[in-house]
C-alpha cells in the first residue's frame, strides 16, 4: 500500500465533491435561463411588403421603446433575415399583455379634415415633450424627416391659404388630425405655415400627459406595417414548474446511473461517478462562462450527454476487464485498455457530435439550447473520460488499495 497515493486519491475526490457542493449556488445564480424556464415572451415580427434596412432598423428602435415601457430587464431585439425582427423578453409576470404592446400595428397617419392622408409615420423623425420656458405650458415638439419637412410645409401653407382666419373665428378645416391605429390621438390647429420641420403641439394638462403622447408618437411611427408570425409565451408558473421538474429528473437520473455504475463496476464504478461529477461541473462551468442559455431541451441534452459520459467509461472498463481476463497485469491492462478504447470513443462521439452541430445550425429557438448542451456535453465527456478517468484508475492501481482484480469487475 502506498499511502502517499491513497492520500492524494482521497484528496482529489474530496476536492471535486467539495467544489461541486460549493459551486451549486453560484451556478444557480449565474446561469441564464431560457424563456421556457424563466417565463417570458418570444415574438417574431415580419414586415409586410418590401422594406429597406433602415425601415427594419427603425422598427427595432420602436420595439425597443415599447419594450422599455414594459420594464423588461434583459430584452433581446434583433434583426433576422431581411424583413424580420426577433424579440425575446424574459421574466414577465403577464407575458400575454406584452404582446398587446409589441403587436400594436400602430401606424401613424396625419390627415386633413377632408380625410386626405398627408404624412405617415415614416415622415416623423422624433417627438419629445417639453415645458414652454415662458408660459410653463407642456407641449410636444415634433421633428420631421427631410421629406416630411417638405410635405408638412406644403400642407400647412396650403391650409393657411385656403382657410384664412376671419377675425377670432378659427376654421376647423385648418386642423390636422394625427391618428394612431385609425384613432385620433391629436387634432391640432395650424396657426401658421411651418417650413422648418419643427412643429409644436400644445394644450396638455401637464408634462406627463405630453410625455405619453410623445411616446406614442415616437413608438407609433412604424415605417412599415408588421405582423406577428410567431409568438411563444410561457407564464411564470409553468417556467417555475419546469425548473422544479427538470431538477427532479436530473437528480433521479444521475443517482440511478451512479448506483448502477457502482453495482456493476465496483471500484471503477466509483471512479466513473466521480468523473461524472467532475464532468457536470465542467459542463455547467462552461455554460456559465460562455453565457449560454439553459432551456428545457438543453437540460435534456445535458442528461443525454451524461449517458455519453457513462458510455465512455463503460467502453474503457469493458476493455479493462477483457485485458485482465487475458492475463495482463492491472497496470498493463489499464494502459492497453485505454489506448484501445480511445479511438472507439472518439469515432462514436464524433458521429453524435455531427448530429448535434447540424441541429445547432438548423434548429430554432429552444432546440438550439439542446444542441449546445449536447455538443459541449459530448466534448466534456470525452475529455473527462480520457484524462481524468485514466488518471484516477492509474492512481488507484498504483496506490495498491485494491489489488484484487475482482474489484475491477474481472
Amino acid at each position: 500500500m502506498r499511502w502517499g497515493r491513497v492520500v492524494s486519491l482521497v484528496g482529489i475526490v474530496a476536492l471535486i465533491v467539495g467544489v461541486a457542493y460549493f459551486s451549486l449556488n453560484p451556478v444557480k445564480e449565474n446561469i441564464r435561463l431560457g424563456l421556457d424556464l424563466e417565463g417570458g415572451v418570444q415574438v417574431r415580427l415580419q414586415a409586410k411588403g418590401p422594406v429597406t434596412d433602415e425601415d427594419i432598423a427603425q422598427v427595432i428602435e420602436i420595439m425597443r421603446t415599447r419594450v422599455d415601457s414594459l420594464g423588461v430587464a434583459e430584452p433581446t431585439i434583433q434583426k433576422e433575415g431581411n424583413n424580420r425582427v426577433l424579440l425575446e423578453l424574459p421574466g414577465l409576470e403577464d407575458p400575454e399583455s406584452a404582446i398587446d404592446v409589441i403587436g400594436k400595428t400602430a401606424q401613424l397617419e396625419f390627415k386633413t379634415m377632408d380625410g386626405d392622408l398627408v404624412l405617415t409615420g415614416k415622415d416623423l423623425k422624433n417627438a419629445k415633450e417639453a415645458l414652454d420656458s415662458q408660459s410653463g405650458e407642456a407641449y410636444v415638439s415634433l421633428e420631421f424627416s427631410a421629406e416630411g419637412t417638405k410635405k408638412f410645409a406644403e400642407i400647412t401653407t396650403k391650409l393657411v391659404n385656403e382657410y384664412p382666419e376671419v377675425g377670432e373665428k378659427r376654421d376647423e378645416h385648418r386642423k390636422i388630425a394625427i391618428l394612431l391605429d385609425k384613432q385620433i390621438l391629436q387634432n391640432p390647429y395650424v396657426d401658421e405655415p411651418i417650413p422648418s420641420g419643427q412643429a409644436r403641439v400644445s394644450g396638455y394638462e401637464n408634462l406627463e400627459e405630453a410625455h405619453k403622447i410623445a411616446l406614442l408618437l415616437r413608438s407609433g411611427a412604424l415605417p412599415v406595417p408588421v405582423e406577428i408570425i410567431e409568438k411563444r409565451t410561457v407564464g411564470p408558473t409553468l417556467g417555475a414548474d419546469s425548473v422544479a421538474n427538470s431538477k427532479q429528473a436530473a437528480i433521479w437520473g444521475l443517482v440511478a446511473v451512479m448506483i448502477f455504475m457502482i453495482v456493476f463496476y465496483r471500484v471503477p464504478g466509483i471512479i466513473a461517478d466521480v468523473s461524472l461529477i467532475l464532468y457536470t461541473l465542467l459542463l455547467l462551468g462552461i455554460l456559465v462562462a460562455i453565457n449560454a442559455t439553459l432551456t428545457l431541451p438543453g437540460i435534456a441534452g445535458f442528461l443525454l450527454s451524461v449517458g455519453m459520459c457513462v458510455d465512455a467509461n463503460i467502453i474503457i472498463y469493458e476493455r479493462l476487464k477483457e485485458e485482465l481476463r487475458n492475463g495482463k497485469s492491472l497496470r498493463a491492462a489499464i494502459d492497453s485498455g485505454f489506448s484501445r478504447a480511445f479511438w472507439t470513443i472518439f469515432d462514436a462521439n464524433v458521429t453524435t457530435l455531427i448530429a448535434a452541430v447540424v441541429l445547432f445550425y438548423l434548429g430554432s429557438g429552444t432546440i438550439k439550447g439542446f444542441a449546445v448542451t449536447l455538443s459541449l456535453g459530448i466534448i466534456c465527456s470525452m475529455f473527462t473520460a480520457i484524462t481524468f478517468t485514466r488518471y484516477m484508475l492509474k492512481m488507484t492501481a498504483e496506490s495498491g488499495l485494491f489489488k484484487n482484480t475482482k474489484f475491477y469487475g474481472a
Binding site: 421556457d36 415580419q46 407575458p95 400575454e96 404582446i99 398587446d100 403587436g103 406577428i228 408570425i229 410567431e230 409568438k231 411563444r232 409565451t233 410561457v234 407564464g235 408558473t237 409553468l238 414548474d241 421538474n245 427538470s246 427532479q248 429528473a249 436530473a250 433521479w252 437520473g253 444521475l254 440511478a256 446511473v257 448502477f260 455504475m261 428545457l296 431541451p297 435534456a300 442528461l303 443525454l304 449517458g307 457513462v310 458510455d311 463503460i314 467502453i315 469493458e318 477483457e322 479511438w343 472507439t344 469515432d347 462514436a348 462521439n349 464524433v350 458521429t351 453524435t352 455531427i354 448530429a355 448535434a356 447540424v358 441541429l359 438548423l362 434548429g363 430554432s364 429557438g365 432546440i367
Partner: protein, 284 residues
C-alpha cells in the same frame, strides 16, 4: 447467441416492425403539432377544478373552434387550434373566463403558416445533412460498406420511432426533430463501437470464418451495448417520470429510438455489413 447465422430471423423481426410503422404512417399519418401546421396553442389552468374536456369543447363551439384538439395534463388543458391573432385570442379567453371562471395562461403559442413551412423544411434539411455527413465520416474512418450498413440501421431506428408516433398519434413538433437527430447520433454511435471491434478483429484475423468473427465482435461488445443503454434508459425514464408535460414526447421518442438503436446495432447493422461484404466476395 448466433447473431449472424440466425440473421434472417432478426431481419424478419425488424421488417415486421418497420412494415407496421409504414402501414400506420400511410393509414393515419402523423399528428403534426402547430410548429409544423401553423396554429395557436393555449395551455390553461382554471381555478375551478371539475371542468371536463367536453365542457371545454362546448364552450369553444361558441367561437366555431369545436374542432380544436383538447388535451388534459395534470389538471390543466392544452388547446390546439387554428391560428388566431391577438384580438381573437383575447376574445376567446374572455369567453372561457365568463364560462369557467379565472384561469392562468401557462403557455400561449402562435405559429404562422410561413414559420410552419420553414420549420418543416429546416427539419428535413437537418436530417438529410446529418445523414450525409455521417456517411462521409464513416467512409473516411472505416469504409463505405460500414457506412451503408450504419445508415440502414439508422433508417431502421428513425422509421420505427416515427411509426411509433404515428401509431399512437403523439404530437410531432420541433423537439421531435431534435429527438430523431439524437436517435440518429445515438444509433450510429452504438453501431460504430461494434464496427470498430470488427475492424480490429479483422486486422488480427487468421483463418477465422467471417461470420464467426462478426459474431465474436458483437459478443465482445454486448455488455457495453446493454450497459450503456441501461444507463441512458435510466436517465430517460427519470425525464419521462419527473420532466413534466413539455419534455414528455421528447423522452418517449428517445426511449423508443434507444431501444431500437440497441437492437439495430446488434441484430441489423453488423449482419447487414456481413451480407454486403460476403456478397462482394462471392463475386470476385
Amino acid at each position: 447467441m448466433e447473431f449472424i447465422r440466425n440473421r434472417k430471423i432478426w431481419y424478419a423481426l425488424s421488417l415486421i416492425v418497420i412494415l407496421a410503422s409504414l402501414v400506420s404512417l400511410f393509414v393515419q399519418g402523423l399528428n403534426f403539432g402547430i410548429d409544423f401546421t401553423g396554429g395557436t396553442l393555449l395551455h390553461l389552468k382554471f381555478e375551478k377544478v371539475d371542468i371536463t374536456s367536453a365542457e371545454l369543447r362546448t364552450a369553444l363551439e361558441g367561437f366555431d373552434l369545436e374542432k380544436s384538439s383538447i388535451q388534459e395534463s395534470d389538471g390543466s388543458y392544452i388547446i390546439k387550434t387554428v391560428e388566431m391573432d391577438q384580438a381573437r385570442q383575447v376574445e376567446v379567453l374572455k369567453g372561457l373566463e365568463d364560462t369557467f371562471g379565472k384561469y392562468d395562461l401557462l403557455r400561449g403559442e402562435k405559429v404562422g403558416p410561413v414559420i410552419g413551412k420553414e420549420l418543416r423544411q429546416a427539419g428535413i434539411l437537418a436530417l438529410i445533412i446529418a445523414s450525409i455527413l455521417q456517411v462521409i465520416y464513416i467512409t473516411v474512418r472505416f469504409e463505405f460498406k460500414f457506412a451503408i450498413a450504419a445508415i440502414l440501421a439508422l433508417l431502421h431506428d428513425a422509421i420505427i420511432t416515427v411509426g411509433f408516433f404515428s401509431f399512437l398519434q403523439y404530437d410531432v413538433d420541433t423537439t421531435f426533430i431534435a429527438a430523431i437527430l439524437t436517435i440518429i447520433g445515438y444509433s450510429i454511435n452504438d453501431t460504430i463501437v461494434i464496427f470498430d471491434r470488427i475492424r480490429e478483429n479483422l486486422k488480427n484475423r487468421r483463418k477465422e470464418d467471417l461470420a464467426d468473427l462478426v459474431n465474436k465482435s458483437i459478443k465482445q461488445n454486448l455488455v457495453r451495448s446493454i450497459n450503456t443503454s441501461v444507463a441512458v434508459l435510466f436517465i430517460l425514464f427519470a425525464l419521462l417520470i419527473f420532466g413534466g408535460e413539455t419534455t414528455k414526447n421528447f423522452s418517449v421518442a428517445l426511449l423508443v429510438g434507444v431501444v431500437s438503436g440497441v437492437y439495430s446495432s446488434i441484430f441489423v447493422a453488423s449482419p447487414l455489413w456481413y451480407d454486403l461484404r460476403a456478397e462482394n466476395k462471392s463475386k470476385s
